[in-house]
């Protein structure tokens, strides 16, 4: 982790200068966070690495379109990474590959049972594991799998209003856990 700590505003200015120092700081601070989320969506390492690379390049190229009034920098970056991931996940090539190797969605559901889960990936599970089952499910479907509210409501068999309040409670619970 870098010694200096830039505020978000300082970091954004630095990034717009297109300097290597900005890239270094951004990568050092955020690559792990971004990669951990990408790996939750795209389980295969080589593909996930590709996504991370594509995401960083896109972030770098499009920094001038980022609007700090709309969302925080991390939210913007993670949306870029998630969109690339979900596109790949839903692409025909990826789907047919998953069918051939008989992994994919089932793999993600039974992550804890699979021997292929990288040991250091247990990290993100630690906090999420402490959440109640239904809170965990909501965050997984909404955040990592990109389900719409409608799809979540059908999947969990609960009304859309409940989907929203459960999500809120999940985040509130998360906030408590993160403070500890």
């Amino acid at each position: 982790m870098p010694d200096i700590n830039y505020t978000e505003t300082e970091l954004i200015s630095l990034l717009q200068s297109n300097e290597a120092a900005a890239y270094n700081y951004l990568y050092d601070k955020y690559s792990g966070a971004l990669y951990s989320i990408i790996r939750k969506i795209i389980v295969q390492e080589d593909k996930a690495v590709d996504v991370l690379q594509e995401a960083f390049i896109k972030i770098w190229k499009n920094i001038h379109t980022y609007d700090p009034n709309k969302a925080k920098l991390f939210t913007w970056m993670i949306n870029i990474a998630k969109n690339i991931s979900i596109d790949i996940l839903r692409s025909k090539d990826y789907k047919s590959e998953q069918n051939r190797t008989a992994s994919g969605d089932v793999f993600i559901e039974n992550e804890n049972l699979s021997i292929n889960v990288p040991v250091d990936h247990i990290g993100i599970n630690k906090i999420l594991e402490q959440l109640k089952d239904d809170y965990k499910k909501i965050i997984d479907l909404a955040y990592f799998k990109g389900y719409t509210q409608d799809e979540i409501s059908k999947e969990l068999n609960i009304p859309i209003g409940t989907v929203k309040t459960k999500a809120r409670n999940a985040i509130l619970e998360l906030r408590k856990l993160l403070k500890v």
Partner: protein, 261 residues
């Protein structure tokens, strides 16, 4: 609008998790500009998600950092203009004078071609810029219009009436901003299905059950908040789907949303 209810509903969490619908996003972004507590709630949620990820990072392969930077640099290099150098080649048999002229004319032709190339490129750029500028002016006007409307609806005399979906259309939703002093009415369609050509949504104000036409929503208008007819009195609002141009009285079976004051 009850801000506390809005914040407790979980819509902000859905937005930050990335699963709010387009109209929910628009509504939230609008409300964030006028309600700092909502903006704050959004920020806090974003910070939670960011901290969750930062506290449990998964380091990517060590070689990736340099690899990505290389990619970025190569990308930059491609976009810069290429180096133009006229290569010199030996031409042993010819007399030195002729060679000199030959090279000069070749260089001149090359320079001319490049110059034409740049001119074409330049005029293409100018044309693109003009189109972009015209688009920007349009967008600016749209934004100004919406800004004016926003200024109207944040007035303290404005009542916000959320119209919930009727049993046949449970997920439908719209919001009416009604100025009780000026009697002006503004409508936002938060979640209503797109209309087929030949049909339009019509807003009704109801006074003791009696419907009064409050105007038609124009789905071709890019502005999400639309000013409809002035209404002097209402205890309820409802929206029905009518033939284009509207109806004299509402088609009750085509009611989508309704809400009481």
């Amino acid at each position: 609008m009850n801000i506390e209810e809005y914040i407790s509903s979980g819509i902000i969490e859905m937005y930050v998790l990335g699963t709010a619908s387009e109209s929910e996003v628009r509504e939230l972004e609008l409300l964030s500009t006028t309600h700092p507590e909502i903006r704050e709630a959004v920020r806090m949620c974003e910070i939670d998600i960011e901290n969750l990820a930062l506290q449990n990072p998964l380091p990517p392969p060590g070689t990736l950092k340099q690899k990505i930077w290389q990619s970025i640099k190569e990308d930059n290099a491609e976009n810069n203009s290429p180096d133009l150098s006229v290569t010199k080649s030996g031409d042993a048999g010819k007399a030195p004078n002729r060679n000199w002229i030959k090279y000069l004319s070749a260089a001149a032709v090359l320079a001319l071609i490049i110059s034409i190339g740049y001119n074409i490129n330049y005029s293409l750029k100018i044309r693109k810029q003009n189109t972009a500028f015209a688009q920007l002016k349009n967008d600016q006007q749209d934004l100004l219009n919406q800004k004016n409307i926003l200024a109207q609806i944040i007035s303290p005399s404005v009542k916000t009436v959320v119209l919930q979906g009727v049993p046949a259309h449970q997920n439908a939703k719209a919001t009416v901003y009604w100025d009780t002093t000026l009697k002006t009415t503004y409508l936002v369609l938060n979640a209503l299905p797109r209309t087929e050509p030949g049909k339009q949504y019509q807003l009704w104000a109801l006074v003791k059950g009696k419907p009064i036409d409050a105007g038609l929503y124009n789905s071709n208008d890019p502005d999400p908040i639309q000013k409809l007819k002035d209404i002097s009195n209402a205890d309820m609002f409802a929206i029905t789907l009518e033939p284009k141009g509207g109806s004299v009285s509402p088609t009750m079976s085509q009611m989508y949303v309704a809400g009481k004051l």
